[in-house]
């Protein structure tokens, strides 16, 4: 499975579905807060319980994760149906927390590699809004070199004992389970000694430390594992074949970030197209005298936003039609990182000094803070440098970067510290 199947669907059926979804949303889902759509003010507990409750509402209505098979709690519908839900739900508060990574990254990995027992146990729980998942993939020793994981899982009969640390898991402190990549064999080259596990997060031996970001939010976490005992039935795929699973996880992550996954659900508040309208209103209110310069930037942001949508559609079509290889999702990832940093720069500059110094009780400083941490969108979800490696090597076919660790047993690979 190198890409998704976007089943053709009868336009009359889709029109009917659109109407049905709209009616149901109007009656059952809360409207988005138009006053403050950019910066959610809820604290983490509120956010978690709110998302779980909204997911449950979608489930009860039959509109949760509709591309999942019926036997696991989905509706066995097509990507076209999910897209209708996404379009309609733009105006509504949606359980965005469940979209990435639970439903769109962890989900398809379990669907593809999970045992029947794992599927029965976990998938319905996400779709009902009962359990939220995260990824325990990156490590403090290096974010991009995923296969160089140092967290160890040592087998002891029917159990594994985990020791080590993971980082950059989103919202782990309020989540329930994680997909974790750990090293089970140190005598073989790095890609061949990894195993993927399902790990209950609130479990003896796991410590979770929230990481305070530049804007003082604590969405990301670092976890420490100290003799954590996990049953062997929690292995996903085969022992020592975790890289096969991880590669698919990366594929689904690129699809989710590149807006090409049928398993994402609802749209993020900060979609760039909405952002440009917001920029236009900032320009009207605060643009000041420098109209010519701001018009250039506003026009440029509108251009980037529209081209980003067109590029996403082109890449999906290109991969489906065999014109582009599956890694072409990295084109969208690179474009997104660059356009997002640009948007945050422009938003900050259009606010003028109000983004730098503001009166108590105002929130214009958020634009300054977003600007200061703007590189986040070129780092998280795979850096733009990794995207450029992938584009040059796997689309243009250029030679791969030399890797000193490629055929070396992992315990002989030089490492920092």
């Amino acid at each position: 499975m190198d890409d998704f199947v976007y089943a053709e669907t009868d336009p009359a059926e889709l029109a009917r579905y659109q109407e049905e979804v709209q009616t149901w949303m109007n009656e059952n889902m809360p409207r988005r807060d138009p006053v403050n759509p950019w910066h959610p003010t809820q604290d983490d507990d509120e956010r978690s319980s709110r998302n779980r409750e909204l997911q449950r509402r979608l489930y009860d209505g039959g509109y949760a994760a509709v591309c999942y098979p019926k036997e696991y709690g989905g509706q066995s519908l097509t990507a076209a149906h999910q897209k209708i839900i996404d379009d309609v739900s733009m105006d509504f508060d949606m359980p965005i927390l469940f979209s990435v990574p639970t439903l769109s990254i962890c989900g398809p990995v379990i669907l593809e590699f999970g045992t029947e027992e794992q599927k029965q146990r976990y998938i319905p729980a996400w779709i009902r809004g009962d359990e939220l998942w995260v990824q325990f993939i990156s490590e403090p020793s290096g974010g991009s070199d995923m296969a160089g994981a140092l967290t160890r899982a040592d087998r002891d009969g029917e159990e594994f004992i985990i020791n080590g640390s993971k980082i950059w898991s989103t919202f782990a402190q309020r989540s329930d389970y994680a997909l974790m990549l750990a090293r089970t064999n140190w005598e073989v080259p790095k890609h061949r000694g990894l195993t993927m596990f399902i790990v209950p997060i609130h479990h003896p031996g796991i410590e979770i430390h929230p990481i305070q970001m530049v804007d003082r939010t604590e969405e990301f976490c670092q976890e420490f594992f100290n003799d954590v005992i996990i049953p062997a039935e929690n292995v996903v795929g085969e022992v020592d074949d975790g890289w096969t699973v991880a590669s698919r996880l990366l594929f689904h992550e690129r699809a989710a970030v590149g807006n090409a996954s049928p398993y994402t659900q609802g749209r993020h508040r900060n979609r760039t197209a909405d952002g440009v309208e917001d920029l236009a209103s900032i320009a009207r209110d605060h643009g000041g005298a420098d109209i010519g310069r701001h018009r250039q930037r506003l026009g440029y942001m509108e251009t980037l936003s529209r081209v980003e949508d067109l590029l996403s559609a082109r890449v999906v079509k290109g991969i489906e039609g065999g014109f582009l290889p599956a890694p072409a999702g990295s084109l969208v990832r690179l474009f997104h990182g660059l356009s997002r940093t640009e948007r945050q720069t422009v938003a900050m500059e259009m606010q003028g000094d109000r983004a730098l110094v503001w009166n108590q009780g105002e929130d214009t400083g958020a634009f300054g803070t977003e600007y200061v941490q703007r590189q986040q969108s070129c780092i998280g979800g795979g850096t733009t440098e990794m995207a450029r490696n992938i584009i040059s090597e796997r689309i243009l076919g250029m030679p791969r970067e030399p890797a000193a660790d490629r055929d070396l047993p992992f315990n002989q690979v030089p490492r920092s510290g």
Partner: protein
């Protein structure tokens, strides 16, 4: 290249590419630089036989598109011509033929038979010295006299102006914007070839010194009808420029990637250096995004709806990124890239002209900003 071509469109595209590769390889393009008219008339007739001038002409007048979405079909040819830096009066002939097909009188539409055969070339005299490519900048005057009009003014950068058998002239009349179709030998019309950065295509200055025409020279009605025609002409022209530049950029990137594989320094191919690989990745992104922008604009124009916005989005993106891509490819080539002998400058010249005519990316960004109420 689009990813959604039908079998018929794909056949049409492949035929165009083979025709260009066999009849006008870049070595021939260079020979044609010395031709005053830019290309041999017999070649243009052969191109017309392939359908290059019939796509925008209604079936009832002998034309017809491949897919029922003529603008999309036209961008297929523009893309291939960009790849080949192919000369010829392709853009103005099609843009004017489109207007004659929709708004021309039956006498004017009778000309289309010659257009379909490649025997009649059409030009659009629109821009004026110092103008900004908006309809509002047009100052050429159409003064009513003796039941007809007297035309006065100066037009610049008229593509194929000296080759065209008929010129569509845009002017201001007391009833608003008006368009007239004039035979090139009309009295009072002075057509002077201009020099151009693009060595392949031809441009001319057109002076109107009290040109007396009958009301039968009017194309459509002055005022809002003519404004709509001018707007449509502008949009089609911009989409074709963008398709041309996207095709050029894709081709330039292809041969530069090839060069990076073949060229060794310090015992390694250029393609193995990460510093260069990352630049190539950016260029691939610009190239694919440019194609996406062209396709989006062509679709909007074919289907109606958001075409004003999407045409400006395409020009604002493709105009800048195609040309920057080519400069970067010059850099990848090193010294050979800035020689006359290398083909790179042929692409860069043409792309730069497309970038500037009918509005720079900056002009189009301003349009977009205004559309958002700022």
């Amino acid at each position: 290249m689009r990813f959604d071509l039908s079998d018929d469109q794909e056949f049409f595209r492949e035929t165009a590419r083979r025709f260009i590769e066999s009849e006008v390889p870049v070595s021939v393009v260079r020979e044609w630089h010395d031709l005053p008219d830019g290309c041999p008339p017999s070649w243009w007739q052969a191109a017309a036989e392939l359908g290059w001038t019939s796509l925008m002409v209604p079936e009832s007048l002998g034309g017809g598109s491949i897919s029922g979405r003529p603008v999309v079909d036209l961008t297929i040819v523009a893309d291939e011509m960009g790849r080949g830096v192919t000369p010829g009066p392709f853009m103005p002939t099609n843009v004017v033929a489109d207007t004659l097909g929709r708004s021309g009188s039956s006498d004017q539409q009778a000309l289309l038979e010659g257009v379909l055969a490649g025997e009649v070339v059409l030009g659009w005299a629109f821009c004026e010295p110092g103008g900004d490519w908006s309809a509002a900048h047009v100052a050429a005057e159409a003064a009513p006299a003796n039941g007809g009009y007297v035309l006065t003014g100066t037009k610049t950068a008229v593509e194929a102006g000296a080759q065209a058998h008929h010129l569509l002239v845009t002017a201001q009349s007391p009833d608003g914007l008006a368009q007239f179709l004039l035979p090139a030998d009309t009295e009072g019309l002075t057509i002077t070839p201009q020099e151009s950065l693009d060595l392949g295509r031809r441009f001319a200055e057109v002076r109107l010194d009290g040109v007396a025409v009958g009301s039968d020279a009017l194309v459509g009605q002055p005022g809002s009808a003519a404004e709509a025609d001018v707007e449509r002409q502008r949009q089609v022209m911009v989409v074709l420029q963008c398709a041309d530049n996207a095709g050029s950029a894709a081709k330039v990137l292809e041969f530069t990637v090839e060069y990076a594989f073949d060229r060794y320094s310090f015992g390694r191919p250029l393609a193995s250096y990460q510093a260069l690989k990352h630049r190539f990745a950016d260029m691939k992104l610009w190239s694919e995004a440019s194609q996406a922008a062209v396709d989006g604009a062509a679709d909007a124009l074919a289907d109606g709806g958001d075409e004003v916005r999407m045409v400006s989005v395409a020009k604002a993106y493709v105009g800048d990124h195609s040309v920057e891509l080519m400069h970067d490819c010059v850099q990848m080539h090193g010294g050979i890239g800035v020689t006359y002998e290398h083909d790179l400058h042929l692409y860069l010249r043409r792309a730069t002209v497309n970038r500037g005519l009918f509005g720079t990316p900056g002009d189009h960004r301003v349009c977009l900003s205004k559309m958002m109420g700022y």
